[in-house]
């Protein structure tokens, strides 16, 4: 066991996988961001589908949106490096998404309050108004 750890450390010291990872963390490439974005998105979707508390669902939605934002920013950076003139569009779009998210949150929370006043609950499995 110790031998193994030692071998690993030696290996790392001489430029092994971990140092490679450290190196690539300093200079991340596009795919990593996309992966993170995808993970965030999946977490968000899972939250929306599984959570009962409407507030948490909102938070999950924010996750989804931010996953998208992350993608925008990542692509924007990537395009900047490739010298594309439209590279800034992604960043601008991210700002738009944030604005929309803020507005959506404001309205959504308003709806939640109205809902609570009427139904005395914020648990979505107790709300089946769409059936009617």
């Amino acid at each position: 066991m110790i031998l193994t750890v030692f071998a690993f450390v030696v290996q790392e010291a001489s430029g092994g996988v971990l140092s490679q990872m450290k190196e690539s963390a300093k200079h991340p490439d596009l795919s990593k961001f996309l992966v993170i974005g995808a993970i965030l998105f999946i977490i968000g979707v899972a939250g929306v589908l599984t959570r009962r508390n409407i507030i948490v669902i909102f938070m999950s939605i924010e996750l989804i949106l931010n996953a998208a934002n992350l993608n925008f920013i990542a692509f924007s950076r990537y395009l900047q490096e490739t010298g594309n003139v439209n590279a800034l569009a992604g960043q601008i779009f991210a700002v738009f998404v944030i604005v929309v998210a803020a507005a959506e949150a404001a309205i959504g929370l308003g709806i939640v309050i109205a809902l609570y006043r009427n139904k005395e609950t914020i648990w979505v499995d107790e709300i089946d108004l769409l059936k009617w």
Partner: protein, 864 residues
Amino acid sequence: MYRYIWLVPILPLLGATINGLLGRKFRFSEPLIGGIAVGSVALSFLISLAAVYSYGFGSNSVWPNAYVTSKDGNSFNWIPGGAVNINLGSEARQAVELDKERQKKLAAMTPEERARPQAFAIATFDFPRSALLNIEWSYQLDPLSSIFMLVVTGVGLCIFVFATGYMHGDNGFYRFFAYMGLFMFSMLLLVMGSNFVMMFVGWEGVGLCSYLLIGYYFDRQEAANASRKAFITNRIGDFGFALAIFGVIATFGTAQYTDVFAQAKDYPLELLGHWGILSWIALGLFVGACGKSAQLPLHVWLPDAMAGPTPVSALIHAATMVTAGLYMVTRTNVIFQHSQTMMLVVALVGAATALFAATIGITQNDIKKVLAYSTVSQLGFMFMACGVGAFAIGIFHVMTHAFFKALMFLGAGSVIHGMHHEQDMRRMGGLKKYMPYTYMTFLAGWLAICGIIPFSGFWSKDEILWSTASTTYIPLGWLVWLVGTIAATCTAFYMTRLMAMTFWGKEKFLEQPAGGEADEAHASAYDKGLASHDAHLESAGDRPRHEPGEHVGPVHEDITTHVTTHGRGGHPHGAHLPHESPPSMWIPLVVLAVLATIGGFVGISPAFTGGKHVGGRLNIVRYLDPIIWNPATRYFGSEEMFDSYGKRLIFERAELTLTTLPEGETQKLLAGPYKTEGFNLAHTIESKLGSETATEWLFIILSLLVAGIGIGLGLLFYVKDTRLPDIWAERLRPLYVASYHKYWVDEFYGWAITRRTMDAARAVYAFDSKVVDGAVNGVAWLTRGFSRVVGGIDKYFVDGLVNTIAAFIMRLMSPLLRAAQTGFTQNYALVMVLGLMIVVALFFAGDIAGDIAAALKNIFALFV
């Protein structure tokens, strides 16, 4: 200035629109309505005056050429390009082309060759079979339209001013002036349009306005009937006119006057008995003219049209609209002159109408009826002039007639007004004491229509009679002259009778109560409660305001008392003394009287001035000359004009014609192209006397003589010995009765046409109600039965089947579908995400699988 002629018709239309649309809603006062109407017409008169001056007499005058506004781009393509077939008159076109060929060959020959008899190879020509018809909306200013513009707006202005006084107090004041303005617009359109279609629009427009204004007192059965009669009779004429327009388009491929006449002038003449295409067109046009200008046999509407207000009678049924037929015949004189047959027809119809109407005029008692028949008769004179080729003289008579007949109608209106709506001359008499202005002006009109030198009527009527006697256009000129002379005698007689019964002699308005012939219609309408008694109005034109019994009672001797009590209403309405009309009525009379007196000098007879038409363009005959086609030279304008404005404008080809023909043929050409052998009155007398001037003087003396005889007889019968009319009426009983009943033409039409039409209508109605309706009802019954059967099948079989299937599906599917709808948002979101995943999976199936495999391999490689 002539470039602004498009304003002339627009202004009255504008006035009419304002009065008609706003007059009632905003309760315009009478001065405002009158001001708008008179102002618009006055403005249009001034513009016409300036335009005609600059057209014909100014420094930049374009006379003798026509000015069409489209030349300056002031037009729009009203009926744009349709292809029309040119399928009429190809023989005539063939002849025109052959003639051109012949001229060309002759021009190339030496004089010796020309002298020999010629044989020309017959060539055949290929003509375009269709043309692109563009009808533009543009106005034409030429000698003819300028005269009509001045007459229409000038005389119209006088009548508008008169009407403001005459219609004072009428409930429909705004309506009256709206119609009158609309009429002015239509009439100006008629005379100013530059093509046949525009003339037709104006033609129908004046017909409509005539209908509206005759039926102005539409609550009177008589007026409503008269308006319909006028409208329907005119439709017959318009039918002919419309056919002629189609004929023109199918022959010449255009409707523009200038283009049509430029083509038509080269067409071969169609001599007596030859019915070529131009004869048929002329026939159609003449049928239209007969309808509008009240010629036999379509004259019946004009006397009835007197049911309209008197200014209407003066403007529409004497001075302007009824002369539209003359305008049209003169405008198309090229076409008419090509057809000797139609010239003869025009002359004979004119002569017959002149005599026919004049004889009826002798026995009528309604002052307006006498004037109406006089108008018909005078129109007959004008057509006589056109028929014998003296178109300019015909237009001259239109002008003088507009002056004196408008004057007399307005005078009659003034009399009716002063007599409190009395139209029967038997209840007048001695009016000259009470109505001095009306009397003096009427005197001028009377002398003018009788043909007393130097009043305007003399010049034109004398010229007409001279033209008929000396015509080389048609045979039978002597007959036309004879009939015209007799009609002129009758005219002088009945106009003297009118003067004597109205203005001279015993005052009969106090003796005989109203309610005779003229008022019968009114009285019966009042009895039936159709017409309200509106005696509280100060004046209401021709409107009947007194029922028969009402006039007997105390006489208002003092006119001022009468006037003051008149407006109060409900006073015991006794017989009135007549009174002079207000200045708004007699001032137009004075203007027209001056015109009727001196208006004839623009066409002073050549006999007075050494055998020539003097005065240059100021002479109406010379002024009109450029629009009159000359069959001798085949160009516009007469030989007399040849010297005055030279060859340059009109005679370019005539010169060639004259010089290239052999000597004998040139002479023949100048002598007159029509075959008019047979008795010619003037030429016979001329050969006896040996001088044309002497012959003309003889005819002048003769025409003065017959006027004198007519007047003398009138004075003898109605002033000197007033028993004579009754004695002679008894002696000539059949003639008297025939004339009194207007030769039973109305009765004949009623029997032959109206009754037959009604019978036919009844038969068709019976057929419709029995056979057609029966068939329709039978089919309906069958359909109903059939539909009951089909309905049963549908109800029990088809519906049953559908319901069964529907119920089955409903029962089967609904639990499934219902279960899917949980109502929980997350369920829906889950389905959405699943769907998304499926789509993505399907779309990227290969890539994703590859990626996952690669990722797994990488992860595996990381740790191994």
